[in-house]
């Protein structure tokens, strides 16, 4: 009789909705979800609106809406601060980080999940332990090591740091362990070396997890600023986030320019989110990592 368009997966079942009080609470749930959605999105809408205001309006207006929607202020900030250069730096930093994240963590995960040479268990335990220790905690000696090797003002330490991510290694291990053993064995019998098997069989079969790690590495390296600040500060390779961090700690720009810089820093992650929102919000694996 009833057309069931959308499947209900929650505690409340269709027949519960015959009861008036359940119907009331069900409506309340929708209201609360709508409030949550507004609460999540409003600050973003606000910061874009604020970006249209010049300094005078930003400091004096008590209205959320700007007086006009001319993009002139954004254009001015973009060219005044020379953000194009920082954008380019950020993209370079992100690209290298993604390559390192996939290659090095992938190879390590391959060794620990499939090759399993004698003694691999110790490394696996060390990786699991590394998950518990926050990365920023050893930023001081890490920075000193980078200084000693003369890698200051270079993208290399930032790129390579993404090749040492315990979380990504664990994700690779979990995925690789679920791959059909027969295909890997078949490729070995066909005469592929372990390394060839990785590039020709294992990685092509692992596109879903590679996609997840790519998205997260893009987002993480775009948003990263502590190590990038220490490594790149003062130089010509500063990323968007490093600039933003310098603005915020040294207060060298006006409040309105600051808000526009915030908008500029959010554009790539939002584009990434729009493109991949399905993968991001409906994939258990990706939901498991928080940015």
């Amino acid at each position: 009789m009833r057309k069931k368009i959308i499947e209900r997966t929650g505690v409340i079942r269709d027949y519960d909705l015959h009861s008036g009080s359940v119907r009331f609470w069900y409506a309340a749930i929708y209201v609360l979800c709508a409030i949550m959605a507004v609460f999540a999105v409003f600050p973003l809408v606000w910061v874009v609106l604020a970006g249209f205001k010049d300094l005078k309006e930003f400091m004096s207006s008590t209205s959320i809406m700007p007086k006009n929607f001319s993009p002139a202020q954004f254009v001015k900030t973009w060219s005044q601060l020379g953000l194009a250069k920082n954008y380019l730096n950020s993209f370079i930093s992100v690209a290298g980080s993604v390559v390192c994240a996939l290659l090095f963590n992938g190879l390590l995960g391959y060794g620990l999940a499939i090759l399993k040479p004698r003694g691999y268990g110790v490394v696996k335990k060390m990786i699991m332990f590394s998950l518990l220790v926050p990365a920023t905690i050893s930023i001081v000696p890490l920075f000193m090591n980078i200084q000693r090797l003369g890698m200051g003002n270079s993208f290399w330490p930032l790129w390579l740091s993404y090749g040492a991510n315990a979380m990504y290694v664990v994700l690779f291990i979990q995925f690789f362990e679920s791959l059909p053993k027969s295909m890997i064995e078949a490729s070995r019998i066909d005469g592929c070396s372990a390394l060839q098997t990785f590039f020709r069989i294992v990685m092509p079969l692992s596109k879903p997890i590679c996609a997840v790690i790519t998205i997260f590495a893009i987002n993480a390296s775009w948003s990263d600023f502590l190590l990038p600040y220490l490594v790149l500060r003062g130089g010509s390779k500063q990323t968007v986030m490093v600039r933003l961090f310098v603005f915020s700690t040294e207060q060298t720009v006006n409040a309105d320019t600051m808000m526009r810089s915030v908008v500029f820093s959010m554009i790539p992650p939002i584009i990434l989110f729009v493109l991949f929102q399905k993968q991001l919000t409906q994939n258990n694996v990706s939901a498991g990592i928080k940015g």
């Binding site: 040479p117 933003l244 940015g291």
Partner: protein, 302 residues
């Protein structure tokens, strides 16, 4: 005969193992350089007097004594626990509730999920700067504008010592709660809906089904999320650094921020910074150990 064959098998296996280790080597070197060595180096450095990047002299626990003896350490320690406390008050149950609410919706579920997750994608630094405009004290502060519409007079927020930590936690919760809710939703999706149907036939109302089926199903996940949340809040650093510089009067100074100040705040005292890092690591590991002890006990009991 058998022995010889075994021997050559061993050799082949040894070569195979060597090749496997060779494949893992680049990743291992990077893990060592970026994660493991710095962690051990922290411990070593905390025992030395440092000058720039040089370790000058072994001084035992003097860095620790000097760091702990200062008033800002006690303050930072108390603050860090206050951050943890407030994050549990404000941010622990909220994702569970969000997950339950979104989980019940049928139409529009995708939109709610998307909206909930969006803040998590935004760069943390940008989020903090954005919210600083919300909480700014004057009449142009966004919160003041919004509250002004309700007739509430202009307030200051970030200069009040008792408000500043809850505010920072609120911002962190705004960013992270939706993504955490999606993790809970994944856990809740593991419940077979036939269980609800069966319980309903037995006369269990909606609330009873939530209490006896849904909540038990996510209990274990909630325990894991709890320890993850504590670990992540305990290392809070850039949020107060950017928003309040640790103020007013060190009221929002965190332990990790203290570490950063020692190292990069002008004095370049890497030895003392490492001492703080070692203390934070020790507290984190202790908390993780306590958690896994209780977790083991609980699963034995189950």
């Amino acid at each position: 005969m058998r022995r010889i064959r075994k021997h050559s098998d061993d050799n082949a296996k040894l070569m195979k193992d060597l090749r496997s280790w060779l494949i893992m080597l680049p990743g291992l070197i990077l893990m060592a350089f970026f994660v493991w060595e710095p962690l051990l180096e922290s411990i070593r450095m905390s025992l030395f007097k440092t000058e720039n990047v040089e370790l000058v002299e072994f001084i035992g626990l003097k860095n620790f004594i000097s760091v702990i003896g200062k008033a800002n350490f006690t303050q930072a320690l108390i603050n860090t626990f206050a951050y943890t406390f407030w994050s549990l008050v404000i941010g622990f149950l909220l994702p569970v509730i969000l997950a339950m609410l979104i989980g019940e919706t049928a139409r529009g579920k995708g939109i709610f999920r998307t909206a909930a997750y969006l803040p998590n994608m935004l760069p943390g630094l940008a989020v903090i700067i954005l919210w600083s405009a919300f909480f700014s004290g004057g009449k142009t502060g966004v919160l003041n504008i919004l509250l002004g519409n309700l007739g509430i007079p202009t307030q200051t927020y970030l200069t009040k010592a008792n408000l500043v930590i809850p505010i920072i936690i609120t911002i962190a919760t705004w960013k992270g709660a939706g993504a955490t809710a999606l993790i809970y939703m994944a856990g809740m999706a593991g419940v077979n809906t036939e269980l609800y149907e069966a319980a309903a036939i037995d006369g269990a109302g909606v609330w009873k089904r939530v209490r006896h089926i849904l909540i038990p199903a996510i209990k274990k996940l909630a325990g894991t999320m709890l320890i993850l949340q504590i670990i992540s809040v305990f290392q809070i650093m850039y949020e107060p650094m950017v928003l309040t510089k640790g103020g007013p009067d060190n009221a929002s100074l965190s332990l990790m921020q203290l570490m950063w100040q020692y190292a990069f705040g002008g004095s370049m005292d890497y030895g003392k910074a490492s001492a703080v890092a070692v203390i934070v690591t020790a507290i984190l590991l202790l908390m993780t150990a306590i958690y896994s002890y209780f977790n083991r006990k609980e699963s034995d009991w189950d």
